[in-house]
């Protein structure tokens, strides 16, 4: 392009009528709420591509299926089989289906947590009114609520089925509510641990493997030790071992607080041990959240 040779260069800034946004701005609370909702929807693939819905929705279907069958058997064959309570207790069901729960948490935690760190979109989030701690806690809450829904849905199904089968309402409701508390604790523990692992091992494949290693290996180790210590006649070892897997830990808390049927060989047998279980649960949840916050403190936008 030829440059003009007969005009001296001048500069001028034109007023194009640009106006910044002057309307109302919602505060951090609204931002956090919207962020929470989006995170929750994303764990089930809503608001993302079709392929990301397959695994979580599939797992949800798979975890509801046995509950559906159990309800069917209960309602239809209650009198024939002489059943007067749930075939699989509310507190036992999550342990039976723990593989599905673990896979869910292992595959969704990286999607929520690792992606932002890996691709540095976290800098976009931190440049907004939402504070760093709010970001972390909201992400954790999204994952926790999503896990809670996964674990709780079949329990709700069992409860409704139990009511349909004319099981005593008062007793069932009490047991169900106890199981809901247990579910809250289990979801909190699982999501805390999974989020921590996902935030540390930023690559997605490694994060998934890491979460599974932590959850699966801990449960297998604990179950093995509990079985052997039970057979060997020293159940205390098994009770202590039960502290080291979220599944056995929350099951033990339910046994202690609500007298639920135990799903492990060596549930806490004394009040002291029961209190240790409760304390350990709180320690896990708060410790994971604290470690997560500490990890995010070193993230530089």
């Amino acid at each position: 392009m030829s440059s003009p040779s007969d005009v001296e260069p001048t500069g001028v800034i034109h007023d194009l009528g640009y106006r910044p946004y002057g309307g109302p701005r919602l505060g951090e609370r609204a931002v956090a709420w919207a962020f929470f909702k989006t995170g929750l929807r994303n764990t089930y693939g809503l608001g993302r591509s079709g392929r990301s819905k397959v695994l979580p929705m599939g797992l949800l279907g798979l975890i509801l299926l046995p509950a559906l069958i159990l309800v069917g058997v209960l309602v239809q064959a209650r009198n024939i089989l002489g059943l007067d309570q749930q075939i699989v207790a509310y507190s036992t069901y999550p342990l039976t289906t723990q593989l599905l729960i673990s896979v869910f948490v292992a595959s969704q935690a990286p999607a929520l947590i690792s992606r932002d760190l890996r691709f540095r979109t976290i800098t976009l989030y931190l440049a907004r009114p939402m504070r760093r701690t709010t970001y972390v806690l909201v992400r954790l809450a999204s994952l926790g609520v999503a896990t809670f829904l996964l674990i709780g849905a079949p329990l709700l199904l069992l409860y409704v089925g139990g009511l349909l089968a004319d099981l005593p309402i008062g007793r069932e409701t009490g047991r169900f509510l106890g199981a809901v508390v247990g579910t809250v604790l289990l979801a909190a523990c699982l999501s805390g641990l999974a989020a921590l692992v996902a935030a540390l091992t930023v690559r997605r494949g490694l994060a998934v493997a890491g979460v599974i290693v932590v959850l699966l290996v801990s449960y297998t180790v604990v179950a093995t030790i509990q079985g052997i210590s039970y057979e060997a006649g020293s159940p205390t070892v098994g009770e202590v071992a039960g502290l080291f897997s979220p599944y056995t830990l929350t099951n033990g808390v339910q046994v202690f607080l609500f007298d639920s049927p135990a799903a492990t060989r060596t549930p806490p047998s004394s009040d002291g041990m029961g209190l240790v279980y409760v304390a350990a649960t709180l320690l896990t949840v708060l410790g994971a959240a604290g470690a997560l916050l500490a990890r995010y403190r070193t993230v530089h936008p």
Binding site: M1, S2, S3, P4, V7
Partner: protein, 304 residues
Amino acid sequence: MTTIQIDHASRWFRNVVAVNDITMTIGPGVTGLLGPNGAGKSTLIALMSGFLAPSAGTVTLDGEPLWRNEKVYRKIGLVPEREALFDYLTGRQFVVANAELHGLPDPGAAAQRALALIEMTDAQDRTISTYSKGMKQRVKMASALVHDPAVLLLDEPFNGMDPRQRIHLMELLRGMGAEGRTVLFSSHILEEVEQVARQIEVVVAGRHAASGDFGAIRRLMTDRPNRFVLRTSDDRALASALLADASVRGARLRSEGGIELEASDFGRFSEVLPRLAREHGIRLHEVTPTDESLESVFAYLVSA
């Protein structure tokens, strides 16, 4: 004398046609592959480097097909666009590894030669994760040159380079071309291509839009008239004033208001328009070029 022959090659991904019936010959010397973003340049380079099979047509190097043919990589050096490298290695270890994978008899010496060529000898013992973007690009070049290939394919090599690195790379490519190697690089910036390549291939929306000497195509593009739409406070007065200037080829008053203008010398016109508007006290509400983008330039070439 190694030539890449692309013969009626097309490549589609489901219902997106990335490369549409392109025929071209890339011979010795530096060739620039030019086109706007999304034109299919990367796809074309992937076809030429054996990482993609054409859905139709053939892509050959001296008559040999490139797809599923590992032996052909003796002759090809590839500098991919993506930044990822083996971060945990040092620059030297990376180039030596590449030399070893090529089966060179003395990988260390070849690596030293390549590193000296791209002037990375003082940083060669630092890990690649500590390198800047320009340094990573140069290490990629060293890994592509270590086996002395006859063909060099570079995908957007000037992306993110600062002016000094750009000059250095341009000199390097010119040198390679002068040695008789077949060098092809892609870019969407005219000026970059202009300074290095004599021969350019223009690709727009997957189609081969122009090819040949850079100077000739450039002249074609400046000869074309620029079209603008103006909305002013007094269309007729401004139009008649503009028509008096030599740089304006034609003006038409639109029924819905506004002037459709054809200018032939953009440089002169861009200075004339505001001056005339000010002299006649006419306010310019909107000046919209209707074919400013590179794409419309190339579209013009395609239709011509």
